[in-house]
Symmetry: D2
Subunit: 146 residues, 4 copies
């Protein structure tokens, strides 16, 4: 199953630690960047969703579970590509699988569960219908953006 | 003039970069931690200020200017102390001077201007009266907290 | 089984995101701070281990797997306590279970696998014998440090 | 004087704080990303410079002074452009002026001094000759990269 999105990004000083490699917590940031650009390509700005004046459609995604396996270290100046695969779609949550690659090398793989909540109460809510419909659209087979 | 607050803190992996030393942007975080603990000791929780249901007293500090001079690198596991000195008090802003020290060694020195704003509009507002009064209280000559 | 270490820490601006709560990736930083202080209490500075001039004893811990479940959001100014439990000890790796609590409320729980590597080659190596022995020491039943 | 480089980048969740805007320390990261891409366009990978096996040419840039003025807040999902202007070139340091813009709006402006050091000793050293020559090359009048 091809990913629905692939996002390229550079490793900068801010991402490294004294071990000379990317700090492991930063892969969660890398994965999040790719999910944000994927939602944007579907037409969704999370800032617009969050601050929507229209109460019923205000929605925010929160991360409820993360699993990451670190396979190879990335280093300063590396160009990495992070993909997005939707493994499960519920009415109020999504299970996403994500890989970080440097060329053909798999650096890290993650499983991220995101839940849809009301931005004010932080209580779970259904994913807005129009976003559910956008998720039905087939993803490009190889959707690299830089 | 003695500082009004001194805050101890440890350097962790998250703070370091591939050069083996603390990433320079993180000194702004260290300075901010010390300012937060200083305000807390004066009785002010910034979260309570920000989310105050009472419109007229809702207030948030934003940073409008920073100057930092980096003198010596800090490293993983170092214990550093960050102080707070109030250089100027205006009706809606404060100029703070801050030093990061490792024992007697000066690592970095910063000048930070913070402005008081309304948390919703982000427009400047007067520093709440009770905080102005708390700022009049003399600081301890050596107020180390860990 | 009581934790071998409990580390208190404050939530600062740097840890929050536009949702008004702690950014989920930062719990990996919180967990790491608690592990670092636990190793320090056992007598181990990771910086000293990493930069040891003595080749055979130079060692560095790297994180190879993380699982985190996020239960309740933490907010600016919250005081949280992060504990450390050793679930499995191998010759070259450790499985650690960690919880972040705010008073009695469980905020997040994580399983972290750390592996011991040579700091230069990043290849796996045995955990140094003296650290293995230190790990045999019983932990305090309630080892809060702030 | 036109900038020698302009780097586009997106604001992600990781960059925001509970005030709903970009955390001020993160502009130093944004500025750094633009400098890194500028050096890369000149043919310089900082990772290669740092880890050069060739002792005499091993070099690392460290930041020694930063001044940032924050004018307007950036928000989640904003696209910003960060430019690079070389204000002064010394034998062992550079003074860089950088702006962060959102369309025509100036968000932040910074003055960053970077010094060239030996990566092992962290002592100042001359900027390598070939990089000095590359700095002589005229910059494109409008060098946007995304």
């Amino acid at each position: 199953m091809p990913p629905v999105h692939v996002q390229g990004m550079r490793v900068y000083w801010e991402d490294t630690d004294a071990g000379g490699v990317v700090f492991y917590a930063d892969y969660l940031k890398f994965f999040e960047r790719a999910r944000t650009e994927w939602l944007r390509r579907l037409g969704y700005s999370q800032e617009a969703m969050r601050t929507s004046a229209n109460g019923p459609s205000a929605a925010m995604f929160v991360v409820t579970d993360t699993q990451v396996k670190y396979l190879r270290p990335a280093r300063l100046d590396d160009w990495i590509e992070v993909d997005v695969q939707v493994m499960r779609r519920g009415s109020a949550s999504l299970d996403i699988r994500q890989q970080a690659l440097r060329g053909p090398e798999l650096l890290a793989v993650g499983s991220i569960r995101i839940g849809c909540v009301d931005p004010t109460t932080l209580r779970p809510r259904r994913i807005p219908d129009d976003l559910q419909q956008a998720l039905d659209m087939p993803g490009p087979e190889n959707a690299t953006t830089s």
